[in-house]
Symmetry: C2
Subunit: 246 residues, 2 copies
């Protein structure tokens, strides 16, 4: 589907060796995708990279230039492989150091004598960034420019996303309707569906087969920001399915 000129777009960058090794199965991409769709923001691309500075810096710079928002997850804890804050600072060409606001947040959870060098890594914030509150474990995320840096632990990521939500510029929400293909195999309606899609540039139409215990079950999803275009396309799809089922 063509992008309207006022569309608000986003990318996700997942940072962490543990996702690429398969040891941890990502749950954040789906959560953020649902959140963005509800906010009328088009998620256009996702990347997963290891805990390596060159790859993180490159991905941050490519994705923040291409899209309205970039959301990162992972790499902001206290250990040596948590290098996201330093990499984001490098991508923006700014310094990074212990931030007094972030140190104060850590002191809500830790005694001053427990704030060792490792824990203070979690207060390292690029210069000029705003903090993202973390009601779960205090160590904050941050926003610099259009880049929102969040934790990788799903419960903390979700809490940070809730903190970010009111500050985000959203777009016109995408509306969608799902039509059951009612027993028709995808190959029967694919030709007609393609014609309907081709004639309607304001509408995005997808067909999604899923294996269920009863065999393949097909669903057609019609999406648009224009309610009238959506309704007309859905009518056309239903007429196609009725014709093929007759």
């Amino acid at each position: 589907m063509s992008q309207p000129s006022d569309s608000v777009t986003a990318a996700i960058l997942v940072i962490g060796d543990e996702i690429l090794s398969g040891r941890t199965k990502d749950k954040n991409i789906g959560t953020i995708a649902d959140f963005l769709t509800a906010a009328g923001i088009d998620l256009r691309e996702v990347r997963i990279v290891p805990d390596e500075a060159a790859m993180i810096v490159e991905a941050v710079n490519v994705l923040r230039a291409r899209y309205t928002h970039l959301f990162t997850t992972g790499g902001i804890g206290p250990t040596h492989d948590d290098i996201t804050a330093d990499c984001v600072a490098q991508a923006f060409g700014v310094g990074v150091d212990v931030d007094e606001r972030a140190r104060a947040m850590l002191l809500e959870r830790h005694k001053p004598e427990d704030l060792n060098a490792a824990r203070l890594r979690m207060a390292r914030i690029p210069f000029g960034a705003d903090l993202i509150a973390n009601p779960v474990s205090k160590a904050p995320g941050f926003r610099i420019g259009n880049v929102h840096v969040m934790a990788g632990v799903p419960s903390i990521m979700q809490a940070m996303l809730d903190s970010i939500a009111p500050t985000l510029k959203g777009g016109t929400a995408m509306m969608s309707e799902t039509i059951e293909a009612a027993g028709l195999p995808e190959g029967n309606y694919a030709g007609g569906l393609g014609e309907i899609a081709k004639a309607r540039p304001a509408v995005s139409i997808g067909s999604y087969p899923a294996m269920t215990p009863e065999g393949f079950r097909n669903r057609i999803v019609v999406r648009s920001r224009d309610p009238q275009a959506l309704a007309e396309a859905c009518d056309a799809v239903r007429a196609l399915l009725a014709r093929l089922s007759a």
Copy 2:
């Protein structure tokens, strides 16, 4: 961790609007990641892109140039938004048309009179590609150069991965050991862990907090292709934890 010069690397490209909208939650990345780790192949990067030719072609060309193998999922069904075969052909600069071997596979499932233009899309294969068998629903995937093109439906993707496995060049398998941090907060051992990691370039060490019903539970994962380096690093980590718990 530095990459040994003989390491075999891989990327995954997930293709599909339905993943980016959140409507479908990807399950293939974790499956392929586990498969590659077991085969001694380093998964270095994952990208998810929409059903748009320019983005698919760009990602295929970047990722196939950077890594030993590229695995794609999605976009090889019969509908108008299934454009992966055409995009991969474009990326390689080769033609694409209905392949007689693939047509024969489709005829194992469909009657000749049911092989309409839409279903024949599933037999469109770039010139010069080898087919990847699909025991589940017959429509094949394909391999061209170092790019392995698979279906998006997880059960079919898994079957195709099984078909590919014997043909893959693997590497020296990565070994890993997981050490429970036994109640220690990450911030207590992060400094010592960083020193252990820094002194051992052949070893990769990560610390992974997970929220459990009992609160945060930390695990340290030590990985290496060198069994002696792995054992020595694990000894050092255990000694560190014992010292801090004393």
